[in-house]
């Protein structure tokens, strides 16, 4: 394997936060969802695998060097490590397994990242109510995190589906509706005369 730091594009002296940030940026960029319809999906998923391995490798190296003199730090890294593991499961498409592992994590350790990951798994499952709730909790716990906010926004955008976004009923406080009303009235008149102005109604 190549130098994991090189793969993530950070120097070996980078802080844990920098490493995590770099990993998230790359993971977002090469996420399989961005390539679902692309002929390059396999290459993207290879790239994703590489990034995941590099991140895990760095986590492991840093964990080993820390455990010798700082037991507490190692403990909190461990829970972060398990989140990295869950991320890898999600990226590999093992949503059911990821959900099981997430359920297993103790209630007290369920921070912003747990809620975010749970939200991802539930989105895949099509449980949009719960997914949104978890994303909102993640954003609430960690308002600075762009990844969580992006996930929430994306869920809001995507949930409309491919056919559901048109023909929505709007409030009567917009000008467009008045135009629509006029059109519908005209369509009714045409219908009565045997013609048809708007085919769908």
């Amino acid at each position: 394997m190549n130098d994991p730091y090189q793969i993530l594009g950070v120097s070996p002296g980078a802080t844990d936060d920098d490493v995590k940030k770099a990993y998230r940026e790359l993971a977002k960029k090469y996420h399989p969802d961005n390539y679902t319809d692309s002929p390059l999906a396999d290459i993207a998923s290879e790239k994703m695998k590489e990034i995941n391995q590099a991140y895990d490798e760095i986590q492991r190296m840093r964990l080993n060097s820390k455990t010798t003199f700082d037991g507490n730090r190692a403990y909190s890294d461990e829970s972060e490590n398990s989140f990295a593991e869950i991320r890898r499961m999600i990226n590999a498409g093992n949503y059911a397994q990821a959900e099981l592992v997430l359920e297993y994590i103790a209630e007290s350790d369920r921070g912003a990242e747990w809620n975010f990951l749970m939200g991802l798994v539930l989105t895949k499952k099509g449980w949009y109510f719960d997914a949104r709730r978890h994303f909102e909790t993640a954003c609430y716990m960690d308002p600075q995190n762009a990844e969580y906010r992006a996930a929430l926004e994306r869920l809001k955008m995507d949930a409309g589906g491919t056919t559901g976004s048109y023909r929505t009923v709007r409030g009567d406080d917009c000008g467009i509706c008045e135009i629509c009303q006029a059109l519908i009235c005209a369509d009714c008149l045409c219908d009565c005369c045997g013609g048809d102005l708007i085919r769908c109604c």
């Binding site: 449980w127 949009y128 023909r167």
Partner: protein
Amino acid sequence: MKVKEYHTYRALYCGLCKCTGRCLSCSARFALSYDFVFLALLRMALTGELPEFDRGRCIAHPIKARTYAKSCGSLIFSARAGALLTYYKVLDDIADTRAFGRFACRLVLPFARRAARRAGELSSLAERIEVHLGVLSEMERRRGTSADASAEVFGRLLADVGSYGLSDKQERIAAEVLLRVGKWIYFADALDDYERDIKNGNYNPLAMAYPDDPEGGKETLLFAMHAERARAADALALIRFPDSGTQAILENILFCGLAKQEYKLSKTEKSQ
């Protein structure tokens, strides 16, 4: 929707009512609703069965003859499924409501039971319905916070009933459409019953998930309803429709009917 499609829709309702009277019992005709016309239409779309129409009078319209759809497989199926589901709904209402409501439900129960017993081949579904309802009441008893989990059970119940007896692909499409519509109905009920459930201390999935932020919860719920409806529409798009009329009515129910309901719910909740 065109005027003639609206007439078809009405005629199907009349046909379903007549069919219920003939196959089940006269009392069961009172429990009918347009929901079961949706089921009948979905079955027609999937089996490729086209209804024939006739004109005639009935008890509800004794003076003026109306166009109605003649009895056919999809209508009979829908009437039977309706009787079965109504019976379980009455049972559920008895468990949930109190005092006068409960008494009224008890009065209706024998009629509902008699109709359900005549559901023919569908009677074998009774056990599956009971299993689903058992899981659902267990979830509600444990006061679970996942609204999607309980909604999914209800959706699967509808899917099991509605997709009964169809072949492979048709069954899968019907199950997906009904799962989504079922979840939508469950969410709509949660929103509709919110105030009453809070007052009576009953289980309400919305109140469980968002104990401190009812407004945010309602928004999330409406969002989820929109998502379910969109997915039902995606599944509906995979059907090879026998004619454009059936397609237009079904799409109209999903796009306009449910959307209007969502809009109404969002309005009433805000005004309170």
